[in-house]
Amino acid sequence: MPVTTAIESIIRRVDGVTTDAYKAQHRMTAPVDSIHEVLAMLHGDYGFDLLVDVTCVDYLNYRDADHRFGLVYVLSNTDNNARLIVRTYVDDPEPTVPSVTDLWKGADWMEREVWDMFGVRFADHADLRRILLPDEFAAHPLRKDYPLQGRGERHNFPVLTRDHE
């Protein structure tokens, strides 16, 4: 089944889903309330069995942006090599999207990375901990309002001198 058929079918079945395409890239945008439903359809009915990536974009101060965060799901169908990018938008405070670990087990670490870097919560994620930064890190550094040089975290260590050893 070509990817366009899947998109048209989902637009008929779910409200608020839009689509656009650039050359051979197909993109779909779903409201956050129905994002899990859309992804479950794509996974179950249309053979998108591989979740290539889950990532996030911070649109703070971005020209013409309506929302703060854009979640990006890159899907692939390993039978016919179709690719599809699904997006949804969430806002402050407490940006939260449903977890897709029930559909793709591999979403686990990718969602943890998005949580670590952007502070977007994934509802029903079984183990939403930081994955890259130290556990005691207190911010989400890929947010646009986080200073590039940090807030002093990298200086917060004991100093070893020779007389202490």
Partner: protein
């Protein structure tokens, strides 16, 4: 009163003899985290041949080493590892900060990269370059050998001078995370 020595007897100070032994059998601990590590490997390999200076025996356990070569950027999450390895090495021990990143953070002035390892561990020799050529590293090792020869003692009291005990610039003058927000 002159003492006549046989030809195969040399008189030296014990301190100098110990330093001579130490400087010519440095065992490096390669703490290689980035591209400087490639130059470090080249330095140890046959073309540049660090064995000429007695420092070719790289050991990957700190307990067998006395020269730590930090080659590459050290991130915040890696720094406790670096400090632990440094503490596991036996005295007398030395540290070479190899390359711009290890010495100053280099171009990586970001929230996660430590801006120079000398803020947190003692450093004896800095090697500039991005990455430095093997010749530069060899020069640093030769200079370090001179330093070891110049100040070494059998008892290791050179490690206990007041100059050595001055705290590194670092924490006091830099912004420290004061009021950590509650963990989310």
């Amino acid at each position: 009163m002159a003492i006549e020595l046989p030809e195969n007897v040399v008189i030296s100070k014990l301190d100098e003899l110990a330093s001579w032994g130490r400087k010519n059998s440095l065992w490096p601990m390669p703490f290689a985290t980035a591209c400087c590590g490639i130059e470090l490997m080249a330095t140890g390999a046959s073309r540049h041949d660090l064995a000429r200076f007695g420092a070719e025996v790289f050991r990957f356990t700190p307990r067998q080493c006395d020269l730590m070569i930090v080659a590459g950027r050290v991130v915040m999450k890696m720094l406790p590892v670096l400090q632990r390895i440094w503490q596991q090495m036996h005295e007398p021990k030395w540290c070479i900060s190899m390359g711009a990143c290890a010495s100053t953070g280099g171009v990586f002035d970001t929230y996660s990269v430590v801006q120079g390892i000398d803020r947190f561990i003692p450093v004896d020799m800095y090697v500039p370059g991005c990455p430095p050529r093997p010749e530069q590293l060899i020069q640093a090792i030769i200079d370090l050998q001179d330093k070891i020869q110049a100040e070494g003692t059998v008892s290791g009291r050179e490690f206990n001078t007041s100059r050595r005990q001055e705290p590194k610039r670092a924490l006091l003058e830099l912004p420290v995370l004061q009021n950590t927000p509650p963990r989310v």
